[in-house]
C-alpha cells in the first residue's frame, strides 16, 4: 500500500512551515498511490495536535530527541521507515534535512531524490522535479520503488497540509540505538546578538559575491541609505567576513519579506531564494542574464553593479532633495 510518511520538523517549539508544505504534498501523493498520510513526530509530543493534516501521527518519545541531535533523529526516521514501510518518505531539504534524508536513505537502502520542487504520481511512479546546478537546470526523475524525497522549502503551499487528515495518534518505541549515541548536544546559540534585525526591515539592499570585496560594500550601504533600507547579504559575503552573519538571508540565515528587496550581484541559488522569494517587490542587478535570481525578481537589469549603484544612489539623493 502506498503510504506517505512525512518527517515533522520542529523549530523553536513550533512545527516548521515546511512540514505543512510536505503534508499538503503528501495528501496529493497519497491519493495517487491509494495510501494514507503519516506524520513522524520525534520528541515534541505537544505538537501532535497541530498535525491535523496527517491521517496518523506517529509519536516517538525519548530524552535524547530534544534538544535536536541529528544522529538520534536519523535513527528514529530509519526505524519508522523500516516498521511502517511507506512508499514515499518526505523530508524538508532544510539544513537538518541533509543529515536526515541521506542518513535514513542510507540506513534503509532506499533511493533518495534530492532538491525536489515538484512531486506527482504518474503511472504508478513518483515523478519528481529537482533543482540542480544552483537552479539553472531542472531534472525530472521517475521513482517506482519505495524511496526518500528531500523537498525544497517554498515549493508547495503550506495551507492544505494544516488539516484534512483523520487525526489518529500512535506511539512508536524508540530504537535501541538511542541508548548508545555517538554524538551529544552541548549548547545552542540564538541568532542575532548585536545590530539590526533584518527580518524587521521594510526595505533591504542585499549584496552577493558579485560585489567583489569588502571595500565595495560601501556602494551598497550608500544605496541603502538613499532608500532608507538596511543592508542584507548572501552567504558567501558573510562567510568571507565582509558583513556580519546577522545580515545573511536564506536557508541558513534569515527569512525576510520586505516591501523592497534589492539584490545586487546575487545569483539566486535555491538556498538564497528560500529566504526572500516572498518579498513584495524584488529588483535584481546581475550581469549574467541567465542568473536564476531573474526568475523570482519583478524587475531586473544586467548592468554592471559598479556602474549602476552609484548612478542610482545619485538619482535617489537628488529626488530626496
Amino acid at each position: 500500500m502506498g503510504n506517505v510518511l512525512v518527517y515533522v520538523e520542529a523549530s523553536d517549539g513550533k512545527v516548521a512551515p515546511v512540514t505543512y508544505e510536505l503534508l499538503g504534498a503528501a495528501r496529493t501523493l497519497a491519493a495517487g498511490l491509494g495510501g494514507q498520510v503519516e506524520a513522524l513526530l520525534a520528541g515534541g509530543g505537544e505538537l501532535a495536535s497541530e498535525l491535523g493534516g496527517a491521517d496518523t501521527v506517529i509519536h516517538v518519545d525519548h530524552p535524547s530527541l530534544s534538544p535536536y541531535v541529528p544522529e538520534a533523529h536519523v535513527a528514529v526516521l530509519a526505524e519508522a521507515v523500516r516498521l511502517r514501510n511507506p512508499q514515499v518518505v518526505l523530508v524538508g531539504n532544510t539544513t537538518i534535512g541533509i543529515d536526515l534524508a541521506a542518513g535514513a536513505a542510507a540506513a534503509t537502502g532506499r533511493p533518495l531524490v534530492s532538491y525536489c520542487v515538484g512531486l506527482e504520481v504518474g503511472e504508478g511512479a513518483v515523478v519528481a522535479r529537482s533543482q540542480l546546478y544552483g537552479g539553472k537546470i531542472i531534472a525530472t526523475t521517475r521513482t517506482d520503488s519505495p524511496a526518500v524525497f528531500a523537498v525544497v522549502g517554498g515549493s508547495f503551499p503550506d495551507g492544505p497540509g494544516r488539516s484534512g487528515g483523520k487525526g489518529a495518534q500512535e506511539t512508536m518505541d524508540p530504537p535501541s540505538s538511542l541508548a548508545s549515541l555517538r554524538s551529544r548536544f552541548v549548547g545552542a546559540t540564538a541568532p542575532g546578538g548585536e545590530g539590526v534585525d533584518i527580518t524587521k526591515a521594510e526595505r533591504l539592499v542585499s549584496v552577493g559575491r558579485g560585489i567583489g570585496g569588502p571595500e565595495n560594500i560601501e556602494l551598497a550601504e550608500e544605496l541603502a541609505k538613499a532608500l532608507g533600507a538596511e543592508v542584507g547579504a548572501s552567504r558567501p559575503v558573510c562567510d568571507s567576513g565582509w558583513l556580519p552573519k546577522t545580515r545573511q538571508v536564506g536557508k541558513s540565515g534569515m527569512s525576510v519579506k520586505p516591501k523592497l528587496y534589492f539584490a545586487v550581484g546575487i545569483s539566486g541559488a535555491p538556498e538564497h531564494l528560500e529566504g526572500m522569494r516572498d518579498s513584495e517587490l524584488i529588483v535584481a542587478v546581475n550581469s549574467d542574464a541567465n542568473a536564476p535570481i531573474f526568475k523570482v525578481a519583478h524587475f531586473g537589469t544586467t548592468c554592471d553593479l559598479f556602474d549602476l549603484l552609484p548612478a542610482l544612489t545619485e538619482r535617489l539623493k537628488a529626488r530626496a532633495g
Binding site: 536519523v74 541521506a102 542518513g103 531542472i138 526595505r203 535617489l316 529626488r319
Partner: protein, 255 residues
C-alpha cells in the same frame, strides 16, 4: 588525528550550462570545472585543525579529468598527502562515489572525514551521510566550525533563522562542511609549483558499489521562465533613471 578531506569538481555556475543531445546530462564538452566551494571550506577547516592540533591531513578525490590540479592545490594549501581514488568511472553519482570513498578511507586509516556539505550536481543525495553509513560512523552536516578534543570533535551545526548548536561527536566521524571559520586561504603560485614538483600523487583502488535501484532520470530542462523579471535595458544611467522613477512611484524612496 588523521583527517581525510574529500574533494570534487563541479561546473562553474557563472558559465552558461547546456543540456547534451541525450537530454539526461549537461553538455560537458565546454563546461568549466572548478573545485566545489564547500570542499574548499572543508580543506581550510582540515588545515586549521592541522595547525591547532597537529592533525595529519590527506586530500582524497575520485580520479577524474582535471582532478590532479585540485589535489596538487590541496597539497600546496597544507595537505600532507594527496590520494586519487581509482573507482573505474569518473561520473559516479554521490551515492556510488561515497561507497568508493568509504572503501578508500578504510585503506587510508583516517578517523575524521570532511566533505563539502553538498554539490550542486548531486541529484541523489549528499555524500557525507552516505560515507558515514558505509563506514558505520556518526555524521553531522551543515557544519561551520570544528574543534579537536582528543577522541571527540566539537562541531557547530547551522539551522534556519540563524540558529546554531554545538554538538560533541565521537571519533571516527564524518562531517559535511558548510563553511570554515575563516575564508579559504590563497595559494601562491610558487607553492603550487613546489607541490607539483614534489612527486606523483598517490593512488588507491576502491570499487564503487551499486546504487539502490528505482529512481531514474527521465530528462533535464532549463527552468521555464515563469514569472520572470521585466528586464530594464539601456546604459547604467538610463536604467538608474528608470529604477529611480519606478521606486519613487511605489513610494519606496526615502522621504
Amino acid at each position: 588525528m588523521h583527517i581525510a578531506v574529500v574533494l570534487k569538481q563541479v561546473p562553474d555556475l557563472v558559465e552558461e550550462l547546456d543540456i547534451d543531445s541525450g537530454g539526461k546530462d549537461i553538455d560537458r564538452s565546454f563546461v568549466k570545472m572548478k573545485i566545489n566551494e564547500f570542499d574548499d571550506h572543508a580543506l581550510e577547516q582540515a588545515v586549521l585543525l592541522k595547525e591547532s592540533s597537529g592533525a595529519k591531513v590527506t586530500a582524497v578525490a575520485v580520479a577524474a579529468d582535471g582532478i590532479d590540479q585540485v589535489l596538487y592545490a590541496a597539497k600546496a594549501r597544507g595537505a600532507d598527502r594527496a590520494v586519487k581514488v581509482e573507482a573505474g568511472d569518473e561520473f559516479l553519482d554521490s551515492r556510488r562515489a561515497a561507497s568508493a570513498i568509504a572503501e578508500a578511507i578504510k585503506q587510508l586509516e583516517c578517523d575524521l572525514v570532511l566533505t563539502g556539505v553538498q554539490a550542486a550536481d548531486d541529484l541523489f543525495g549528499q555524500a557525507a551521510p552516505f560515507i558515514a553509513a558505509a563506514l558505520g560512523w556518526p555524521h553531522v552536516s551543515v557544519v561551520s566550525g570544528v574543534e579537536a578534543g582528543g577522541s571527540t570533535v566539537r562541531v557547530h551545526q547551522e539551522y534556519s533563522g540563524g540558529r546554531m548548536a554545538t554538538l560533541e561527536v565521537d571519533l571516527p566521524a564524518v562531517l559535511g562542511i558548510q563553511a570554515a571559520p575563516q575564508p579559504p586561504r590563497y595559494v601562491p603560485v610558487t607553492k603550487l609549483r613546489q607541490a607539483m614538483a614534489s612527486g606523483a600523487l598517490e593512488t588507491v583502488s576502491a570499487a564503487a558499489g551499486a546504487a539502490p535501484v528505482g529512481a531514474t532520470v527521465s530528462g533535464l530542462a532549463k527552468p521555464e521562465s515563469g514569472r520572470g523579471a521585466e528586464m530594464l535595458a539601456g546604459s547604467a544611467a538610463e536604467v538608474a533613471d528608470k529604477l529611480a522613477a519606478l521606486l519613487a512611484e511605489r513610494g519606496l524612496v526615502r522621504a
